[in-house]
């Protein structure tokens, strides 16, 4: 979770009180470094089982300011009522007014392009020995598990920085495009929605998650807004409108797509495929005629339940279908 780029620029408050009980391992890391700006917990374990690094040591090694012993439930309830907000972790000695003015000096989340910041500085490839083809991943803060799942399905992955121009993407002749999750305001990521639109116009299957969904929506006319306190954690019920089944999903997003009574606003070419059962917000969309679909939650689920892994299969078969139509 600490290494999920979607948390870039944020202080994370853990509602679960007992943190770090089983330490960490390198294979749990979801990107090249931890991204959280600060970490607030009720209780932090010092130790770790054999072969794992204590979380406290990990946090220290990465110099992540961590507040231990906090009344995290009180903070959670405050955020629930007042919305997610700018905040800081300061030494107790610091004057309150001074602390507040430093917090206020920080830019608000709305309007921030953090995706470009966390994106890979250089393109890189994850090879599959007998790849059916390759997938371009537009990296706005992708998690390792997403890449692994695509590769395990038999595709090489080309991960590209957020600012990679469309023509060079098409040159790579990918089988499909994966639009990753990521932090910040989707509206503020320069040129991203246009790029998604262009790739789709080129006939490529597209699968977006989280920020990826917001970009897909924007590519086809949808609009996005900041949620009061976002969706976080691993227990959000989402209904798949195509099958009627409910998935328990892992979520981490602060923005959502505008909709009215379960229908997207201003995006007639997109239909809603998934809805959040708690608040009725949009959780999944698909293009009415193109192989383009996206979900607002995290089917790669690291951490979180695995109920939605089928979406990766759906992406793979979309690429198969497109490929066979192209050749046939």
């Amino acid at each position: 979770m600490l290494t999920d780029p979607s948390f870039a620029g944020q202080i994370v408050v853990m509602t679960a009180p007992m943190i770090g009980n089983y330490g960490t391992r390198p294979e749990d890391e979801q990107s090249r470094r931890p991204w959280v700006e600060g970490f607030v917990v009720k209780n932090l374990s010092d130790g770790a089982p054999l072969g794992r690094e204590p979380l406290s040591a990990y946090l220290e090694r990465h110099r992540i300011p961590t507040l231990v012993g906090a009344d995290t439930r009180a903070i959670t309830r405050h955020i629930r009522e007042a919305g997610s907000m700018r905040a800081g972790i300061f030494p107790a000695a610091l004057d309150e007014a001074e602390a507040l003015s430093r917090v206020m000096a920080e830019p608000p989340m709305a309007g921030r392009d953090l995706a470009t910041v966390v994106s890979a500085p250089e393109p890189y490839r994850l090879e599959h020995p007998d790849a059916h083809g390759s997938v371009v991943c537009l990296d706005y803060g992708v998690k390792q598990r997403s890449l692994d799942l695509i590769r395990e399905a038999g595709y090489s992955v080309l991960v590209v920085p957020a600012n990679t121009p469309t023509p060079s993407l098409l040159e790579a002749r990918p089988s499909g495009v994966f639009v990753s999750n990521g932090p910040g305001d989707p509206e503020a990521v320069p040129g991203a929605a246009e790029k998604v639109r262009a790739l789709s116009d080129a006939g490529l299957p597209i699968f977006g998650i989280c920020l990826g969904l917001q970009l897909v929506a924007r590519a086809f006319g949808g609009r996005t807004y900041k949620l009061p306190y976002g969706h976080r954690g691993g227990n959000h019920p989402v209904k798949n409108l195509d099958t009627g089944a409910v998935e328990i999903t892992s979520q981490n997003h602060g923005f959502a797509v505008h909709s009215t009574a379960g229908v997207l606003d201003d995006a007639p070419d997109l239909r809603v495929t998934h809805l959040n059962l708690n608040d009725g917000t949009i959780e999944g969309i698909a293009h009415i005629s193109r192989p383009v679909f996206a979900v607002q939650y995290h089917p790669e689920s690291a951490p979180g339940p695995h109920d939605s892994r089928y979406l990766f299969d759906q992406f793979i078969s979309a690429m198969h279908t497109t490929a066979s139509t192209a050749t046939g």
């Binding site: 509602t15 679960a16 009180p17 007992m18 009980n21 089983y22 749990d28 009720k42 209780n43 374990s45 010092d46 130790g47 089982p49 009344d71 995290t72 439930r73 009180a74 959670t76 309830r77 629930r80 954690g233 691993g234 227990n235 959000h236 019920p237 209904k239 009627g244 089944a245 409910v246 328990i248 059962l277 708690n278 689920s301 690291a302 951490p303 979180g304 339940p305 695995h306």
Partner: protein, 1101 residues
């Protein structure tokens, strides 16, 4: 999808009496299910033999049958009620087994009854271990099974593969009944034999040992559209090898990483789909090898369970309620989350607190039994504690246990921690074997400097838990001696605010801190309050604060924000009864719940305080507010000072709240009902004797002693035999009858430590007296007698263990009238407001008062159901200031039938203990038999208690010499009923001489085949065995144990033997019918209408 409208009425089967492994969690689940189904407009038909349950209150179902929970009797209910469906998953293993039996016998098909919730295939797949293993194989999951055996030889062959230790699990038993761990071939064969006997299909499973592996449970729900949610994960503190009911457990799981947890979750979802629980819940147990992370599926229960009750309480997700809704066709996403009332039930609760469950044991009641914890459950109750951290919850849990420790700390003597001494080698040796005291041994081990790694290796407990505990031990040591130099001469300074706050944040109780510092609890409380260190109350909300919680389900912690939302309404705090134990069980929860419902009707805000997760009282919608907290002075006082209620109810929760009454009263807390002074007058021996003398009521001669010398003097004054017991005890703890000086001495050495603070009471024992209980209710103006219940067993058997019958069938009318008069006089003299229970003995034609309890008694639910008047609810209204005159209470309630209460004893779970009744209570539960004749009512009660009386066969009699005249008419009746009668030589001769054909049977030492052989080879169907005195009873002990093991009904008193003859006569001559409580009430109305006579002339009780 709306609920099914092709169903009209639904049959629900309860779990019967409280036994070890199947307790009041099924009252909780069943009650929820009843309410959930009735909400949807279904007609609910309920059968349960346990009168102490809330679910059998007539307003919980449309037709309530208090009848034996056996296939035969359920069929009679089906025949009469013709339900459309049967929901088999709410009454534990009992309901599941009976439902399966009904299916197999074609009964369900014949009457067109559909199994809903879980069908017979799913039940069979989950319950039959062989089919289960195959099913798991199909989805690629591993089980620890070695193989199945139907004989000892087959089992031995399997054990050659699995090796020792091996686990023996009988098929189709509850609470691991009959299971065991064997470390060698000899133990193994013994355990297999026992297991084969325990299994209704004569099959045992031999498992490879996974002792020492980590143990987890997941609670799942699945709807008819295949949506699955995991409600809760539970991690066992104790490693595999200890039954989960005997383990300390923690929710959520603490030591699983996300990857490991998700693997387990995926496996669990695959299991529920494969087994095919289509619309309901299940519990799945996993074992994980701490070395290799290999994961095995241990078992799956396709029904609600002890764990599902715990999970419901731990998360706020009411599994039984939702299970019932799923069973009638709802989807998870159509059922409202009752806590947030904003979101739906199709989600997975998240916890921002930690829950710890601690089991409560009763080994002190079974002195010869083996205290090792294993695969067969032995705990009689449990507490649950909620804290913001594991440490808080742990300490709170131990504080809530209400044993003789004020928290998690070692006892003052090594012996009480089950250690020979406190040397490290002894501790190390003890840690290898799990016993109820192991957590205290761990404390000592940590104190002695044993490393966490070593303790983990010895116990199999995850080092993470032990590290947490080590921090607590260190903190306690620091607090005890802040300067670091232990000095007994210097008074330690008063703890400063920071240190105190630190300890409170860790979770230490005031009493524990007082113990550490050597000061009084009041002193610690004083300092704490002076510094404003007070708890705040947080809500259990299913969602870790993400949504506002509409339901105030609260726990305390020391933090910054209070969420209890105090109201201005008139309010009442009801103190519950804490963990179930022998002597204080579900009956008191019944009373507390009754009070909550009645007081809500009276317009009060009802506030429940309790720590027992199994109960109905801790269901969050029974009261307006629930504080899930220990029932200690500290915790209760904080709640009372926080809520400032108009009154506190202490008389309905048994000894627990009553024990707090004096201290609360002293601190100015308003106690509702009978005054604390009156309670004291009834309990204090000297004051009580004076009161009886003043009223001219006889009591047995008695006295008090603070030493053995004094006791001998008192005993000689009053004359042997004497009944001895410590003062202020519950359930006859350490109560015995002694016949002479040496046995009195022996009692003092063995059983108790007398001291000036803890005097011992001695009473003349009224041998062969009849006993009776009277429950009554008073409002300061009137006293209404609920009923006079005659004990079937003679004096000397604890009233909780004695069968009893109402109306009395052998007492003289004049004695009954004397009892009524005395009860009235006592209630008036003590100015009772609410309930009072008086115990009487009739000895040589005189009525004696044995005991007065100005509080709800164990028999309140039983008598309420017998007379059709909910006494506990009436009492609650009286506590709220209502007059009996306003409550339309008849002076003499109408009794339509004979009602028999029978106790249910846990001897099958303690095979080494002597299964004989005595003055110390040992029953865990009770059943009720209702019929129009004593014989049939007694027969039903026996059947419900699991003792199926034979209608033919061979009766064996072995009795004390002095009982021979009395046993003669009984033997004659059995002979006339066609039984073959056999007896030991002397008795046989005696009976033969009186014209009763009687074969002989050898005593154990007289050669073979003897009585024991006859019993074991199944040649005896009934046994009458009266004890031959305390010393010469090894024979008796062996015989009774064999009877328990073989399930042969036996009686140890002649009155019960005579009742058995009545019962068998009834069973042979009567067509057996059933009648619901609601139909009885209609008949009662008719009787009342016909009688419209002056109150005093109505049908006498």
């Amino acid at each position: 999808m709306p609920h099914r409208n092709d169903l009209e009425s639904i049959l629900l089967i309860g779990s019967g009496p409280i036994v070890i492994g199947q307790a009041c969690e099924f009252d909780y689940s069943g009650t929820q299910a009843c309410r959930a189904l009735r909400e949807e407009g279904y007609r609910v038909v309920l059968i349960n033999s346990n009168p102490a349950t809330i679910m059998t209150d007539p307003d919980m179902a449309d037709a309530t049958y208090i009848e034996p929970v056996t296939a035969e009797w359920v069929e009679r209910v089906i025949e009469r009620e013709r339900p459309d469906a049967l929901l088999p998953t709410m009454g534990g293993q009992t309901a599941l087994n009976v439902s399966l039996e009904l299916h197999d016998a074609g009964v369900l098909k014949r009457y067109g009854v559909e199994l809903i919730g879980a069908d017979h295939q799913a039940i069979r797949k989950a319950e039959n271990r062989e089919e289960f293993a195959e099913a798991m194989g199909r989805i690629g999951l591993a089980v620890p099974h070695g193989g199945f055996a139907k004989s000892v030889d087959e089992a031995v062959e399997i054990a050659e593969d699995t090796g020792y230790p091996a686990i023996i699990r009988p098929s189709f038993t509850l609470g691991g009944g009959g299971g065991g761990i064997a470390y060698n071939r000899e133990e193994f064969e013994k355990a297999v034999r026992r297991g084969l006997e325990a299994s209704p299909i004569g099959e045992v499973l031999i498992d490879r040992s996974v002792i020492g592996w980590k143990e987890f449970e997941l609670e799942l729900m699945r709807d008819g559209c295949d949506n699955v949610v995991v409600v809760c994960s539970i991690e066992n503190f104790d490693a595999m090898g200890v039954h989960t009911g005997d383990s300390i457990t923690v929710a959520p799981a603490m030591t699983l990483s996300d990857a490991e947890y998700q693997e387990m979750r995926n496996a669990a979802i695959a299991v529920i789909r494969e087994i095919g629980v289509d619309a309901g819940g299940c519990n799945i147990q996993f074992a994980v090898d701490p070395e290799t992370a290999e994961m095995l599926v241990i078992e799956m229960n396709p029904r609600v369970s002890r764990s599902s009750a715990l999970a419901s309480k731990a998360t706020g997700f009411p599994i039984a309620r939702i299970g019932a809704k799923l069973a009638v066709g709802y989807r998870l996403d159509e059922i409202e989350n009752a806590i947030t009332r904003k979101t739906m039930s199709c989600f997975e609760p998240v916890l921002d607190y930690v829950v710890v469950k601690v089991p409560r044991f009763a080994f002190e009641k079974f002195p010869m039994s083996d205290p090792t914890l294993g695969v067969q459950m032995k705990a009689v109750g449990e507490v649950m504690a909620i804290g913001r951290t594991f440490q808080q919850a742990w300490l709170k849990g131990f504080r809530a246990l209400e044993n003789d420790r004020c928290g998690w700390h070692p006892a003052s003597s090594a012996e009480d921690d089950r250690l020979p001494d406190v040397e490290v080698p002894s501790i190390r040796a003890a840690l290898r074997t799990p016993t109820p005291e192991r957590s205290f041994q761990i404390y000592r081990a940590l104190e002695s400097g044993l490393k966490v790694e070593e303790i983990a290796a010895l116990t199999g407990i995850d080092p993470w838990f032990l590290n947490e505990l080590a921090e607590l031990v260190e903190a306690a040591a620091r607090f005890r001696d802040p300067s670091g130099i232990e000095s007994s001469t210097e008074p330690r300074p008063e703890p400063d605010a920071a240190a105190l706050l630190g300890m409170k944040e860790l979770g230490f109780g005031d009493a524990e801190l007082a113990r550490l510092r050597g000061v009084s609890e009041a002193a610690i409380r004083g300092i704490r309050h002076q510094h404003g260190i007070r708890p705040v109350y947080r809500r259990v909300d299913t969602c870790a604060g993400e949504f506002p919680a509409a339901t105030p389900y609260l726990y305390s912690t020391y933090e910054t924000e209070d969420e209890s939302a105090l109201s201005e309404r008139p309010k009442v705090v009801i103190l519950g009864s804490g963990p179930n134990r022998i002597g204080q069980g579900i009956e008191f929860d019944y009373c507390c719940v009754s009070a909550a419902l009645a007081l809500r009707d009276e317009g009060y805000e009802t506030i429940m305080v309790n720590s027992n997760p199994e109960t109905v009282s801790t269901d969050f919608d029974i009261s307006d507010k629930l504080y899930f907290e220990p029932l200690t002075l500290e915790d209760v006082l904080e709640i009372v000072e926080h809520e400032k209620p108009d009154g506190v109810v202490v008389q309905l929760g048994g000894q627990t709240p009553l024990g707090l009454a004096r201290a609360l009263d002293g601190l100015g807390v308003p106690i509702l009902g009978t005054s604390v002074d009156s309670i004291d007058e009834a309990e204090d021996r000297r004051r009580f004797d004076a009161l009886c003398q003043r009223l001219g009521i006889r009591t047995p001669d008695g006295g008090t002693a603070t030493s053995i010398e004094q006791a001998i003097v008192v005993a000689e004054e009053i004359g042997y035999p004497v009944l001895v017991r410590p003062s202020y005890v519950l359930g006859g703890r350490a109560m015995e009858i002694v016949y002479d000086d040496p046995s009195l001495r022996e009692y003092f050495e063995r059983a108790i430590r007398a001291s000036p603070e803890h005097p011992v009471l001695l009473d003349r024992f009224l041998e062969d007296a009849f006993e009776a209980d009277v429950d009554a209710i008073a409002d300061g103006e009137r006293v209404v007698i609920g009923g006079v219940m005659q004990h079937i067993e003679d004096a000397g058997i604890h009233s909780g263990d004695s069968a009893c019958v109402v109306p009395p069938y052998l007492l003289r009318d004049e004695d009954i009238e004397t009892m009524r008069r005395h009860t009235r006089e006592l209630a008036e003299a003590l100015d009772v407001r609410g309930l009072i229970n008086v115990q009487y003995a009739v000895f040589e034609d005189d009525v004696y008062v044995i005991e007065v309890n100005p509080r709800a008694s164990r028999t309140v639910p039983f008598i309420s159901k017998a007379i059709g008047v909910p006494l506990a609810r009436v009492a609650a209204r009286v506590l709220a200031g209502r007059r009996l005159d306003d409550l339309d209470l008849p002076e003499r309630p109408v009794l339509l039938d004979m009602a028999v209460k029978e106790a249910v004893l846990p001897f099958d779970k303690f095979p080494e203990a002597d299964p004989q009744l005595g003055p110390e209570m040992r029953s865990t539960g009770e059943v009720m038999g209702l019929a129009d004749s004593f014989g049939l009512a007694f027969a039903k009660a026996q059947l419900s208690a699991g003792s199926s009386l034979p209608v033919s066969g061979t009766l064996a009699i072995t009795v004390h010499d002095r009982d021979k005249p009395m046993v003669t008419p009984i033997a004659r009746r059995f002979h006339e009923l066609g039984f073959e009668v056999r007896a030991t030589e002397g008795t046989a001769g005696y009976l033969g001489a009186r014209g009763i054909p009687c074969g002989t049977a050898l005593k154990l030492h007289e050669g073979r085949p003897n009585l024991l052989d006859l019993l074991l080879s199944g040649e005896l169907q009934l046994l009458i065995n009266t004890p031959l005195g305390k010393h010469a009873q090894h024979d008796d002990y062996e015989i009774r144990r064999a009877a328990v093991a073989r399930g042969v009904p036996y009686t140890t008193t002649l009155s019960a033997a005579s009742a058995a003859a009545d019962a068998i006569t009834a069973l042979r001559s009567r067509t057996l019918s059933v009648c619901s409580l609601q139909d009885r009430e209609k008949r009662r109305e008719t009787v009342r209408a016909e009688l419209r006579l002056p109150a005093s002339e109505q049908v006498p009780t």
